[in-house]
């Protein structure tokens, strides 16, 4: 059984929800990523989504756009992201890692080599923002062969018919985009999320995790009460950027500040 499946199953048995932090690999400094991943796990993260830097991150708000730019300034490529996952796996065999990014770096590496190298590195899931099911079937087949889940998005604009066809090809979990907008947007509407999740629940047994617009312990808790997991990204990325800007801080100190945000959310989500 894949790490994603067993983790989500365990959480379901415990009646707990998945906390899924997202950071961009190589941001704000290349060496910070792996220590931060470990620190977030210790603070209660269940699955880690690792952003793969891309020159044209079309779905991202300003905070995560800048993170992609910083990582690219450090020459972080898809290959270096895979190396980071490999390094993370030296100490952590349990925590699922999902790569989140855009199609072109994967296109250039080639679907087959990417699937193989991702599997070798210890990647558990892949979410390509600009590969909807219509264009993603070829990559999905290659990933399935190596036991990696392809995670698909469902949006507020997704019709029930489309959602059904997405559920048919998705595995691992579904990522519900909580709002019409980019990452880090500020207009999360919990009741509309609730309605939409009810529709999707009728179509699939897959766990549903919700992201975009979750910025603090309170919103994480509210979303977690409706979904199987909450994805949190911009608030972490922004924190790391500010810490680096504010002066000389060690990698471990940066990691521990990020972990503190995670711990806060964990606590809120686990509280009845």
């Amino acid at each position: 059984m894949s790490r994603i499946d067993s983790r989500l199953e365990l959480l379901a048995q415990q009646g707990r929800k998945a906390l899924i932090p997202y950071i961009v690999a190589g941001d704000p400094l290349t060496e910070v990523t792996v220590p931060t991943m470990h620190a977030m796990v210790h603070a209660g993260a269940d699955i880690i989504e690792l952003g793969v830097p891309f020159s044209d991150p079309m779905a991202e708000g300003p905070v995560i756009q800048l993170a992609h730019e910083r990582a690219l300034a450090h020459k972080v490529s898809l290959r270096s992201v895979l190396a980071m996952v490999k390094e993370f796996r030296l100490q952590d065999q349990e925590t699922p890692v999902v790569l989140m990014g855009y199609a072109n770096p994967v296109e250039v590496m080639g679907y087959q080599p990417f699937a193989q190298q991702a599997s070798d590195a210890g990647v558990d899931g892949v979410l390509i923002v600009d590969l909807p099911p219509e264009e993603g079937s070829e990559l999905n087949a290659k990933l399935q062969q190596v036991g990696i889940h392809m995670i698909f998005l469902i949006a507020p604009t997704t019709t029930v018919d489309r959602a059904r066809s997405i559920c048919d090809v998705a595995s691992g979990y579904l990522y519900y985009v909580s709002l019409k907008g980019v990452t880090g947007a500020g207009h999360l509407d919990v009741s509309s999320v609730q309605d939409k999740l009810a529709d999707i629940r009728g179509l699939t047994e897959l766990p549903i995790c919700v992201g975009f617009g979750i910025r603090d312990a309170m919103s994480a808790k509210r979303i977690a009460s409706l979904a199987d997991g909450a994805v949190v990204g911009s608030v972490l990325v922004d924190k790391m950027a500010q810490l680096v800007k504010s002066g000389s801080m060690s990698h471990d100190e940066i990691a521990s500040h990020v972990a503190a945000i995670i711990a806060d959310m964990r606590q809120a989500m686990d509280r009845p």
């Binding site: 020159s55 044209d56 079309m58 730019e69 072109n104 998005l153 949006a155 489309r162 985009v177 019409k180």
Partner: protein, 408 residues
């Protein structure tokens, strides 16, 4: 590819129902936009068959744009070059000064029929932004134009034109601060305001159905040129030449001729400082396949799949991708895609201005530069039609800068 193989291709049958031209095109966008694209596709397939919609489009092209644009015989230039007879398709005489308005008229009508009250557009040189702001002003639609901060600096005149036309111009400071980043930002706006907003893409790129519908709206260029050539010359041309950035003016000219096997076609890319310099905007010549802005096509990219900066003296060609239909037409061998440098384009700009009294846009000057060499190799009995896609007034500052002259 041999001509017998080409014969078997039904050019009118593409793209397929999911927007593919062979391996290119498609719909590579985030899930939130899939509904909007389905909605657009549905509206377009209905309206493109609708007589009232087509009549309104034709009426606007005739009375607002001023079509048909002339097919002008450049007699003196042809004689000086001593080769083929050169005819210029005068898209520079359109309202707003370029071919871009053919498309914005069509898409603004789509927006109206779809009940969208707000339009957004990306722009590089500002021509598509001006053409969008123009139709928005006429139709009373709110208009927001995204433009890279670098381009805003370089194209102050067009920025002011857009503002006079009532558009809001948003300066894009992310990434390389140019056209590709403006397109990213327009996509981000669209994803946020998808309910009330229509996104007018300015070229034959982007997710399906944009490459198809922009081609269809621009094909008026080729349909007119075909008819005019038959009337004025008595037969079809031997060759067509157009510049290719995203490629909308080129596909507009080429498309109605694709089944005419004997008509050769040349889409001219921007070689910037030279293809060997790495500083150019010629993905069909020196790029490779990838995915950007919603479609699979040839791109300027590095070994890690990151999009790399481009250079062309012409802001309208300064884009790292190209329309997916061009990618496919290259692969099947129906169209040749040469490239000319900044220097060659500037020389052609000066030459046409002096010899014919027509000041071409720097984009179109790339097509003219290639035509110069092509015509000289052809016989005076042969005919070339060149798409003079825009006028050069907007480029006077650029040319003056290169001459070391400061205009106030």
């Amino acid at each position: 590819m041999s001509s017998s193989e080409q014969q078997s291709i039904d050019f009118a049958a593409l793209p397929d129902s999911r927007g593919h031209f062979g391996p290119y095109g498609g719909r590579f966008v985030s899930e939130t936009l899939m509904y909007a694209l389905d909605e657009l596709q549905e509206a377009y397939s209905k309206l493109s068959q609708d007589a009232a919609f087509q009549a309104e489009f034709d009426q606007d092209l005739a009375h607002y744009v001023g079509r048909p644009s002339p097919l002008y015989f450049a007699e003196r230039w042809s004689r000086e070059l001593g080769g083929a007879q050169i005819y210029l398709k005068r898209e520079d005489l359109n309202h707003t000064g370029a071919h871009k308005v053919n498309n914005t008229i069509g898409q603004a009508l789509l927006a109206k029929y779809m009940g969208k009250k707000r339009i957004i557009a990306e722009t590089g040189a500002g021509q598509h932004g001006v053409a969008s702001a123009t139709v928005a002003a006429r139709m009373g639609l709110e208009c927001v134009v995204f433009m890279g901060a670098e381009d805003i600096q370089r194209q102050a005149l067009n920025v002011y034109r857009m503002k006079l036309l009532g558009a809001e111009v948003v300066s894009v400071t992310s990434g390389s601060r140019t056209l590709k980043d403006a397109m990213n930002e327009a996509m981000r706006d669209w994803v946020t305001n998808v309910d009330n907003t229509y996104y007018i893409i300015g070229t034959v790129a982007g997710p399906h159905p944009y490459p198809q519908l922009v081609r269809d709206f621009q094909s008026v260029i080729g349909r007119e040129a075909r008819r005019q050539c038959l009337d004025q010359v008595g037969r079809l041309p031997d060759a067509l030449v157009a510049c290719v950035g995203g490629g909308s003016n080129a596909i507009g000219l080429f498309y109605p001729f694709l089944a005419d096997e004997k008509v050769k076609m040349y889409g001219v890319e921007a070689a910037g400082y030279g293809l060997d310099s790495g500083q150019h905007a010629a993905p069909l010549n020196a790029g490779r396949a990838g995915v950007l802005h919603g479609n699979r096509t040839y791109l300027m990219e590095d070994d890690d799949g990151q999009i790399i900066p481009t250079h062309s003296v012409s802001a309208g060609l300064d884009y790292p991708g190209v329309g997916p239909e061009h990618a496919w037409l290259k692969d099947v061998g129906r169209v040749a895609y040469p490239a000319v440098t900044d220097e060659q384009a500037l020389a052609a700009f000066r030459e046409l201005t002096l010899v014919e009294g027509i000041m071409p846009a720097l984009e179109s000057s790339h097509a003219l530069a290639y035509t110069r060499d092509l015509a000289a190799k052809m016989s005076p009995k042969e005919v070339i039609v060149v798409n003079l896609s825009g006028r050069g007034d907007k480029d006077i500052h650029t040319v003056a800068d290169i001459d070391g002259i400061t205009l106030s």
